[in-house]
Structure formats: structure tokens, C-alpha cells
């Protein structure tokens, strides 16, 4: 395969009800930076109609072009039509990379069209580096539960395909390019080839306690916290005007619901104040936390969390929590 014949970085634009998903905009901003280094064009691929003000957002992120795709089969997300679409588009346009938001649906079709093309796919990189020497994108991602960082590349095959979790990159539009192009493709997909039929949809009931992505204060508990202590952390969170979250081991044990799992494979959070009790500080967890003030309490002085915090206390989580409660209630 001649790598040089493959040009431009694509971003799949996920959208619903006329709004672009935040992860697609974040990806456009990040890929813009890589394009500036590599000389590739940034192309936003939009399937279906998008209101003008949303299209403008893509241009503001510095997209060099928008590939607008129309056709039948895309009204409701389905694996078959989206897999076929990207298979067909990649065979025709030969992009060097296709980046897709790591949403439930993005993670559904990205690996599948990669397999159909016979090329590589990575998921959940936390950093993207353009290597000018090799011309490859280096996907840097935590491995082995975050104990080590692995650099993944696709040195031979193109396109390079990756899914990236929402919240990994910042939405910081670089500004509109002087010249932009609008491409159009019509690809119809035979509806009889769609193997799923949606017979019902139950929207999730909104529970404010489970909506932790943007809260002023997050009290986060780790595996070091016992079940019987849970009420005091709830109380602390409520006294501080915040919410309760947890690490993966806590969610895995069933103590708290998955919706409260903070980190790359859970919820990426943005908060003014983060207080971690008995949290060890695995990379997958801390990369999911963006906090103005980061506080950690852990018994183990060598816990990695102390490297990420602004302030730390080496001590028993329950004792500190009790003392904070006592003080806050007087």
C-alpha cells in the first residue's frame, strides 16, 4: 500500500436533533492541530442534514472542507448502513485517517468498517501525535489498566482509524479557513440489508444525582472506601453542594451505579473541586478529571493520586470525612 496516496484527516460528525455531538467538535479541533503539522486537509464528514449554524461551527474549528453525504438508510443509526458508507467513502477518497467519537454508536461501526477495509483501528487514545518522520499518527493510550502508556501506530495500512472518548480533547475553535470546500456525495443503502428494526425507545429518566459530568464539586470514592461508610460521603457531597462519584472498582463491585464511574471508560468530569477519598489514581481515572482544585485523601503515601492532586492528606479516608462533616455542621 502506498501511504502517500492517502491524504487528509477526516472527522465523522455525529449529530442528533440538529445538534453536533460535542465529541465531534473536540475531534475537529484536535485534528486541526495535526493537519497543520502534516499538511493534510481537515474534512468533516456530515451524514444527513445539519442546520447552517451547526455547519458554521465546523468551519470555525478550521475545517478545510465538509463532505456532505445524502442518501437513504441513515435516518436511524444502524450498523449496516454506516459501515457500508465509510467503506465506500474510504475506497473512493482514500483519506489518511478517519476519527470517530467514542460514543456507543461510534464504537459500534468504526471497528467494523475498519475490518471490512482490512485496516487497523484503535480506541480511547488520550493523546494524538503526528510523527513527521514516519508520516503516521501516534495514538497514545493507557494500557494494562493505566499502569503503562502504549503508543499505537498503523505503519503500513491506510486509513488510520480511531475512536476517541468524549471529553478527551478540548473544544477550542482555531478559526475559519480562508478557503473551504463543500463536497457532496449521495450513497443510498438498501433498507432490506439493515438487520435491525427499532421497535421501542425508552428515554432515560433524568436523575440529577447521576448527572455528574459538570458539577461544582465532586466527592469521589475509591476501592479504599467500605459500603457502610457510603452515607457519610453522600452527606459530605451534599454539604459541599456537590455530587458523589466513584472509581471503576467501586462501580464493578456494584456499590454505586456505572453512571457514577469517573474516568475514561466512565464519565469525563469537569468540576471546580474534586475530592478523592481512597482513590489510588489510575491513569484512566485521573485523565477523566478536569478540576480547578484537586484534593486527595489516601492512607498509602505512595498512591499515584498524590502526583495529580493540588493538596493531599495521607490518612484514613473515613476519619477525614468524619472530621470534615463535624466541622461543616458546626
Amino acid at each position: 500500500m502506498d501511504k502517500k496516496a492517502y491524504k487528509n484527516f477526516w472527522v465523522h460528525i455525529e449529530h442528533s436533533e440538529g445538534k453536533i455531538h460535542s465529541v465531534s467538535l473536540e475531534l475537529c479541533c484536535e485534528m486541526r492541530k495535526l493537519c497543520d503539522l502534516s499538511g493534510d486537509k481537515l474534512i468533516a464528514v456530515v451524514v444527513g442534514k445539519l442546520p447552517a449554524q451547526e455547519t458554521k461551527k465546523l468551519l470555525d474549528c478550521g475545517a478545510d472542507g465538509i463532505l456532505q453525504v445524502s442518501g437513504s438508510g441513515y435516518e436511524r443509526y444502524n450498523t449496516e448502513a454506516y459501515t457500508n458508507l465509510y467503506y465506500v467513502l474510504c475506497r473512493k477518497y482514500h483519506p489518511s485517517a478517519v476519527m470517530i467519537g467514542g460514543t456507543v454508536n461510534g464504537r459500534d461501526f468504526a471497528p467494523r468498517f475498519a475490518a471490512r477495509l482490512g485496516v487497523g483501528c484503535t480506541s480511547d487514545a488520550t493523546e494524538l501525535i503526528y510523527n513527521a518522520g514516519t508520516g503516521d499518527i501516534e495514538f497514545v493510550e493507557p494500557a494494562a489498566g493505566g499502569k503503562i502508556m502504549a503508543v499505537i501506530t498503523m505503519p503500513v495500512m491506510r486509513p488510520q482509524i480511531g475512536t476517541i472518548r468524549p471529553g478527551t480533547f478540548k473544544y477550542a475553535p482555531a478559526g475559519k479557513k480562508e478557503q473551504t470546500e463543500l463536497l457532496h456525495e449521495n450513497i443510498d443503502f438498501d433498507p432490506s440489508l439493515i438487520r435491525t428494526e427499532r421497535i421501542d425507545f425508552t428515554p432515560e429518566l433524568f436523575d440529577p444525582a447521576l448527572d455528574i459530568a459538570e458539577t461544582d464539586c465532586l466527592v469521589c470514592i475509591g476501592a479504599g472506601v467500605k459500603e457502610e461508610s457510603l452515607p457519610k460521603y453522600r452527606e459530605l457531597a451534599s454539604l459541599l453542594g456537590g455530587k458523589l462519584g466513584c472509581t471503576r472498582p467501586v462501580a464493578d463491585s456494584g456499590l454505586l451505579p456505572y453512571k457514577l464511574q469517573v474516568g475514561q471508560s466512565g464519565v469525563m468530569i469537569k468540576t471546580k473541586l474534586y475530592i478523592g477519598f481512597g482513590v489510588s489514581g489510575a491513569v484512566n481515572h485521573v485523565t477523566g478529571v478536569s478540576a480547578d482544585k484537586f484534593i486527595a485523601i489516601n492512607r498509602d503515601a505512595s498512591a499515584a493520586i498524590f502526583n495529580y492532586c493540588d493538596y493531599g492528606i495521607i490518612g484514613d479516608a473515613d476519619e477525614i470525612c468524619d472530621a470534615m462533616l463535624a466541622s461543616l455542621k458546626t
Binding site: V104, D108, E197, N307, L328
Partner: protein
């Protein structure tokens, strides 16, 4: 009879892994190898289907000979037979090469109506295997399957709930169908004593690359893997934060509260 395939993997217990601070590499020796936790949930879902509609559950895994351990563990939980795909030629495979290898082997053994996978592994954690296996099986796929409501062998359809970010969609889907299972409704099964006895004696079907007619050697192992890992490095540790040490838990808590209130 429903033919059910469950894909499992033996993985290092990453929670037990430590990093060598001198070399910056992972210390692999002495780390226990376990059944990937979410694969137990996938097996549990398969068993639930079998309990209600009947069928035969086949396990498949790829790995070193030692990976037989997780097959026996799953047999003890309620699977009927197991296939181990083991050969150095399969080593160093990424998800693309692995999906090709697994599907080539499975197709040698049988035609499957339902294929179950865990949502992701704790070691690679790509979550890509389900979709790539489904592509190779040319089957439908339901990733993030929450609940299997109905299986109708006669019409070849099933009804499955799928978990999305904003709710749950109920899909009617045609077989063959691959599902990656959310753990919520399918807790891991506990091996019974009888199951353990049976698993101990069970014969594990073992395939090497030779045993799969027409296997394309350029599509397996390292050669068949478009993704490479040119290097690994320890996570960059920022400088430690300020440690509060005022002498007692109460004093530390007070100091902390004053820091929080600084705005």
C-alpha cells in the same frame, strides 16, 4: 437447536500488575491469569438464553495452552463444549488478526446462531472485538446489549434491549447475531460442584493453524496485524501536590475546609 458461541479470553489480572520503576516496563511474572471479568457476564447471558429456549453453548478462546484454564472455568459455569485455538503463529495479533483467526476456527466447527462477547477486556480494553467478529461472521451485531427479551428460532429473530447514552432502544434483529453484553442483568454464574467435576473431565477441542483448512497465514498473528505498538512508557507523573499535615485528622480536615473555601 440454537447454536450458541461464547468468546472468552484469559487475561492478566491488571490490578495485580506492577511497574518496574527502573526499566519502566510492566512486571508480568507472578501476575495471575484470570477469565476476563466481562466474559463471565457474556457467558451468563448465553446460559440465560439456553435455560429458556434450549441450545448448545460452545466456548472459543485463542491463547497459549494455559488458556485452557478459563475454558474449564466456563464449562463449570454451564457451557457445553470448548474450543482452544493455540499456535505461536497466532501470537502478537491485534483485533483484526484475532477476529479473522477466531471466526476461521469457529466456522470450521459449526454454524452459530448467536454469538456472545464481553463488552471489553481488562488488558487490551479496545472494545473492538465484537464488531470485528460480527463483520467476519457476516452477522448482525448488537453492541451494549442490555437484555435479551425474546428469541424466536422459527422466524430467526430476536428482540434485544441496547443501552445508549440517552436511553434504551429495543431492537428486533435477525440471526445470526453477535451481542456484546452489558453486565447489568447478567451476573457471573457460580460454578456448581457437578459442573466442576464435568469440566475437569471434559475434552477440550484444540486447533492449531494447521487444523484450519484454507487459513490465510498473511492474515494471522503479527503479519496480519495492521496496528503495532512501537513503544511503551510509564505514565508521566506530575510533581506531587502539597501534603497537608497538621498533626491530627481534625486539624487536617479544618485546613482542608479552609482551602476549599478559598474559592
Amino acid at each position: 437447536m440454537l447454536k450458541i458461541l461464547v468468546c472468552v479470553k484469559q487475561v492478566p489480572d491488571v490490578d495485580m500488575m506492577k511497574m518496574d520503576p527502573d526499566t519502566g516496563t510492566l512486571i508480568r511474572s507472578g501476575v495471575p491469569a484470570i477469565l476476563n471479568p466481562l466474559d463471565a457476564n457474556a457467558l451468563s447471558a448465553a446460559i440465560s438464553v439456553k435455560e429458556k429456549y434450549g441450545g448448545e453453548i460452545t466456548l472459543i478462546t485463542m491463547g497459549p495452552p494455559k488458556a485452557e484454564e478459563v475454558l474449564r472455568e466456563c464449562l463449570a459455569m454451564g457451557a457445553d463444549r470448548a474450543l482452544l485455538l493455540t499456535d505461536r503463529a497466532f501470537g502478537n495479533a491485534d483485533t483484526l488478526a484475532t477476529s479473522y483467526s477466531i471466526v476461521s476456527a469457529a466456522n470450521c466447527l459449526d454454524r452459530f446462531d448467536l454469538i456472545f462477547c464481553g463488552k471489553e477486556t481488562i488488558d487490551g480494553a479496545t472494545g473492538q472485538m465484537g464488531a470485528q467478529l460480527a463483520e467476519r461472521f457476516d452477522s448482525a451485531q448488537i453492541t451494549s446489549a442490555l437484555l435479551i427479551r425474546e428469541v424466536d428460532e422459527e422466524t430467526g429473530k430476536l428482540v434485544v434491549d441496547r443501552e445508549l447514552e440517552n436511553g434504551v432502544e429495543t431492537l428486533r434483529v435477525s440471526m445470526p447475531c453477535l451481542m456484546t453484553i452489558e453486565k447489568t442483568n447478567y451476573p457471573a454464574r457460580i460454578p456448581t460442584l457437578k459442573g466442576k467435576m464435568r469440566a475437569k473431565k471434559a475434552e477440550i477441542i484444540t486447533y492449531t493453524a494447521e487444523d484450519i483448512p484454507g487459513l490465510d497465514r498473511t492474515r494471522i498473528g503479527d503479519a496480519g496485524s495492521p496496528t503495532k505498538v512501537p513503544r511503551m512508557f510509564p505514565p508521566v507523573m506530575p510533581e506531587p501536590g502539597t501534603i497537608i499535615d497538621e498533626g491530627s485528622a481534625e486539624a487536617n480536615a479544618l485546613k482542608l475546609i479552609s482551602i476549599i473555601r478559598e474559592g
